[in-house]
Symmetry: C2
Subunit: 391 residues, 2 copies
């Protein structure tokens, strides 16, 4: 009979991280649906596009692993030059750390002793484990725990871009918090600022998005200056995402970009538009839910086997890849009902189609495995080791 702590630790140590090689290659058509598939050619192209763009812009990539939840993909990003990864939760960080990744920034504040203890356990093993905080109480709790463990914990101050989610207000409040860390928290090492402007990422229209982003980011830039004027070194200013990657490179204020979705893309991001373009086409959708048409109860409808439990529902519609003139409606937990207005091809019961996901992050979190393929051939299965690690 384990303690809760043992139970959680065991649940991490029992995970497998490596690709599972199949005894012989199979076709996409052989997969049990709904299945989460990666088009490796597009996936690699997206990774190269981001690397090349950031290299030219002298911005580092601190890729967000909350999107893919996969140490396999995180390691590919690190091999391609990312300086580290972001994790949204301590339990995600535990999985990534257990897989051998040491440079981890936890991008959301934690306040309870159980989470702080778990973070400190990681930080004791790697000086590159960092976390954000957004309050004096939060700083004191981390400082006390780091002191007890005999370590110096690196922390960034999380700035609220006006979302009202997490973060302290930019300006004097942030300065006061930084000053508190420097003056009173001997076991914390203040490394910089995080400002993730999530309320800008999905603004439709490049110019509109860029305008609002510049205005909001300016408060972060000013706060950095405020701290430096007060003699507090701000080694790192971390932020930005897929939706601002080509805006951040123009502004030049962010040191590292916390992008995640560029790897897979989704309907939500594709539709925000790019410079001079209605669609955001710098990155291509590379993640799909493969689904089978299983029933045709009415002439103008055909039902697929991917519903609420296979596709995130928080935003927008799924899309059948390469098919025009149809609308994919959620038809309950296990079904999607496709309305056949003016379909560009005939869809028959028993056929499998690839669906572009409305929102990649929470869709990935519904699956245990990726099936990566090249030209429709699957050779490996990749565990989504951090799936469900929302704690």
């Amino acid at each position: 009979m384990p303690t809760l702590q043992q139970f959680i630790a065991d649940s991490v140590s029992q995970l497998s991280f490596a690709p599972i090689r199949l005894d012989s290659p199979i076709s996409l058509d052989d997969l049990p649906t709904p299945a989460l598939v990666i088009d490796l050619e597009l996936f690699e192209r997206n990774m190269h596009t981001m690397r090349d763009h950031l290299q030219a812009s002298k911005i580092d990539l601190r890729c967000h692993s909350k999107m893919h939840k996969s140490p396999i993909i995180a390691k590919k990003q690190l091999e391609m030059g990312a300086i580290g990864i972001c994790c949204a939760t301590v339990s995600e960080a535990e999985v990534m750390f257990a897989s051998g990744i040491e440079a981890i920034l936890v991008t959301s504040p934690i306040v309870t002793s159980d989470k702080i203890d778990r973070l400190i356990t990681l930080a004791t093993q790697s000086e590159q484990v960092e976390i954000v905080l957004d309050s004096i109480d939060g700083a004191n709790a981390l400082n006390s725990a780091a002191g007890q463990a005999g370590i110096k914990l690196s922390v960034l101050i999380d700035l609220d871009p006006g979302m009202g989610r997490t973060g302290i207000e930019p300006g004097p409040a942030a300065l006061a918090l930084a000053q508190h860390i420097v003056d009173n928290c001997a076991h914390l090492h203040f490394t910089g600022l995080q400002m993730y402007i999530g309320n800008c990422m999905h603004i439709t229209g490049f110019d509109k998005r860029a305008d609002k982003y510049r205005k909001l980011l300016q408060r972060g830039i000013d706060t950095r200056q405020l701290l430096e004027d007060a003699g507090i070194a701000v080694a790192v200013f971390s932020g930005g995402g897929t939706g601002t990657f080509n805006i951040d490179s123009d502004i030049g204020a962010i040191d590292d970009l916390q992008a995640g979705s560029y790897v897979f893309m989704d309907v939500e991001y594709r539709d925000i538009g790019g410079p001079g373009s209605e669609l955001f086409v710098d990155f291509a959708p590379a993640l799909f839910v493969l689904s089978t048409a299983i029933s045709k109860p009415q002439q103008q409808l055909i039902t697929f086997d991917a519903g609420i439990k296979s596709l995130a529902t928080d935003n927008g519609y799924p899309e059948l890849n390469g098919v025009e003139g149809v609308i994919y409606h959620f038809g309950g937990d296990e079904h999607g009902i496709v309305q056949l207005d003016n379909p560009s091809c005939e869809i028959k019961v028993g056929e499998k189609y690839a669906i572009i996901t409305p929102h990649c992050d929470p869709t990935v979190n519904l699956y245990d495995y990726y099936y990566p393929h090249r030209n429709g051939v699957v050779e490996e299965i990749w565990p989504i080791s951090a799936r469900g690690r929302s704690q």
Copy 2:
């Protein structure tokens, strides 16, 4: 290196089904959040209410395990008299069967050979494994596979209640399909009809719901008569759910009820109302997401650690249990932002609150474990063994 089939089989055989007993009881406050918790007292009360009601109404319970995904709970339902369980997918059925449950109805049609092979593998081991079908092609495919395996597979015809999701049209089309099974499918045993009227379950207002349900169900009742008039025995008419449990008992047409949500309830079901009541109060919310307040960036807002990856977003808002005058907004994958309009109590950073889920089924599917508790004391952890089994 496994084949895909071996890999899938291994993923089932490696599951654990039994409760994990903790070395000593812990408090709800000790749980890492977001955590999925069950109030055992309310959970048991819900189970007793349904059993007593159906016993008095002479309707059997064929409870839907797609909701809880847990062999532990399914077995409790069977011990209390349920005649079997429903599964929405073959992969759910595989997990339930591996845990020792033999009476399983798969409630959605399957059409591809991989799924049919997997179902036949189960049916070869238990005559109580049944499935619905809704087309002649579907019947022929199942018949052929059953014949090759040397078994007789029990099947129900799925009737479309006008949802346009799955099912054949009630009336002559259904009769023709039944006749085809009886005449031409020597390896299928036609046991009856399924009519799950999902488009009625959440109609707000008891009388309005009952009226529409009676009208739609009549087509199923007539179809049963049509088949029996044609000399085709309809041993079972299966259907209904939590939202119609007290309508079905009044009508008396359904032989077994496919209810699932009554065990846990959610905001969506609570709000449909009952006889003479604005709320549906026959069953009490017994499932909660325990979440911690982690940040307070603005005076009128406080941020919790349960977002899109911890609460289903397909319908309605989460609710803080026992707190009035606040609204829970989704604040991204990992956060909920609670708007403090006129809160009935002060909510402080670091405190944990229980959230009533908007929709229980897809919320359960986000978690690996339940933490059942009695009066706030947790002694066991229950694996959600069929989580993610959407195939």
